[in-house]
């Protein structure tokens, strides 16, 4: 009869207990009857052998190691925070502030210059430069103690600009007044001087000049060459100016 052997175990019973046999839960007489059926049954024996072999193959598969960053990726994707354990184990990386980074950058630039400057051969040059600068500032009336932060503000700069402008305008007006007075004085002086000598006097003067063998230089004649027609006259002339004849003394050689 198919499905039944002479050891008393049927094929359906064999199939039912084969899981216990594979899980090592079968013992005693039941295990003996199971083995006997597996040996004798042409259907159940090979089938059980394949199942047992398959289980054996599967047991060779060991647990694989997950990637190292998997936990961090999961935490970042879920709670959005880094691992507390990794944070504790991770060394603290010092991050310099903006001021410290600027200072480092300036040091990297200035250090080579400073090393050069500190050489003795440059000491005298820098000393003289400093002395010249301080003298120039003191002559100009600039005192470092007078410079205040308020002077560098917008209103302070504007006030300084207007003060300086007013000072320049005032200086210009003063100079103009001085020139006007000087011009008037010259006009009066010319008005009071005698008239030009006539042709006879000129001939006589030339004769005297030719006869001058003393080697002394001729008396200097003042002429205003810079004045032309387009030059503005700063001094105001009177309504009825006195008749002044201007003659030039030319040397006829």
């Amino acid at each position: 009869m198919p499905g039944e052997t002479n050891n008393g175990m049927q094929c359906n019973e064999f199939e039912a207990v084969q899981f216990d046999a594979l899980d090592q839960k079968l013992a005693g007489g039941k295990l003996e009857r199971f083995r006997a059926h597996a040996r004798a049954c042409a259907k159940c024996g090979p089938m059980f052998a394949e199942v047992e072999a398959g289980q054996h193959w599967l047991k060779t598969l060991t647990e694989v190691e997950p990637p190292a960053n998997l936990v961090n990726d999961i935490l970042a994707a879920t709670s959005g925070i880094d691992s507390y354990r990794l944070q504790a184990a991770r060394p603290v990386i010092y991050k310099p502030s903006l001021g410290e980074r600027i200072r480092e950058w300036a040091d990297s630039l200035l250090t080579p210059v400073w090393v050069t400057v500190r050489q003795p051969r440059f000491a005298m040059s820098f000393g003289m430069a400093f002395f010249s600068l301080s003298v120039a500032l003191s002559v100009a009336g600039v005192k470092p103690s007078d410079i205040k932060q308020a002077d560098l503000s917008r209103s302070g700069l504007r006030r300084t600009y207007y003060t300086t402008s007013a000072r320049v305008v005032k200086y210009y007006e003063n100079i103009r007044l001085v020139y006007e007075i000087e011009s008037r004085v010259q006009e009066l002086k010319k008005a009071t001087t005698p008239a030009e000598p006539g042709p006879k006097e000129l001939k006589e003067r030339d004769k005297n000049h030719k006869n001058n063998t003393s080697g002394d230089p001729e008396p200097r004649q003042e002429r205003n060459y810079s004045r032309d027609e387009n030059q503005p006259v700063l001094a105001s002339a009177p309504e009825d100016p006195p008749a002044v004849s201007v003659t030039t003394n030319r040397r006829f050689v």
């Binding site: 084969q18 394949e50 047992e52 193959w57 060779t60 997950p66 709670s79 925070i81 507390y84």
Partner: protein, 199 residues
């Protein structure tokens, strides 16, 4: 304190917003979920992505876990399995369709898979514990149908008992045993054929 109580406490703390508890859960279960995904999906990259998806889903639905309805491990494995099946269906078009995918429930009548597996050229003196053998077994596992594969993975690799597997797969316990049997036998035939070819 029992393991289940510890896990339930972690879940309660995590639902309350404790980030440390969530990290503890991730640390405790990520290896298991990754291995399950790796054995089912076949590649480490896919397993990594799927593991992340599992934990993202778990993070969102952790408040729905009911202690009274079952163990946390069963709940987690069910979630992982559902996501793996979804992934399998989504990527089915991308994979080369073979007879296993075409007729997953007709293994007894189908052509033996060992006739279809290609010769990987394993060395003749390969031992069972060797790396090449494990790779062959892993590749053979990928040739099984999803139903048989998940059953043998949960039983032989995840060491779950039949009742929990039945709860995860939502099939009777007898069906679970049948699938495990068929999966083991199919894998054995596949690998024996391979070894005969190389020897």
């Amino acid at each position: 304190m029992e393991d289940a109580q510890i896990v339930n406490g972690l879940v309660r703390r995590c639902v309350a917003g404790d980030a440390v508890a969530w990290e503890e859960i991730v640390q405790r279960y990520h290896r298991r979920v990754f291995n399950l995904c790796y054995r089912f999906a076949g590649t480490s990259n896919d397993a990594q992505d799927l593991t992340q998806e599992v934990f993202i889903k778990m993070y969102r639905t952790l408040s729905s876990y009911d202690v009274e309805r079952g163990a946390f491990m069963t709940w987690l494995t069910t979630m992982t399995r559902n996501l793996l099946v979804d992934h399998f269906r989504k990527t089915k078009q991308d994979r080369v369709t073979d007879s296993i995918d075409a007729a997953p429930s007709e293994h007894e009548d189908a052509m033996p898979l060992s006739d279809q597996i290609e010769d990987k050229g394993a060395p003749p003196d390969a031992r069972v514990q060797s790396r090449e053998t494990r790779e062959l077994v892993h590749e053979g596992l990928q040739k099984l149908s999803p139903e048989l594969r998940e059953a043998v993975i949960l039983r032989d690799l995840q060491d779950m008992d039949y009742r929990d597997i039945a709860a995860v797969l939502k099939v009777p316990e007898g069906t679970v045993k049948s699938r495990i049997n068929r999966g083991r036998a199919e894998l054995a035939r596949l690998l024996q054929r391979t070894y005969k070819q190389v020897m």
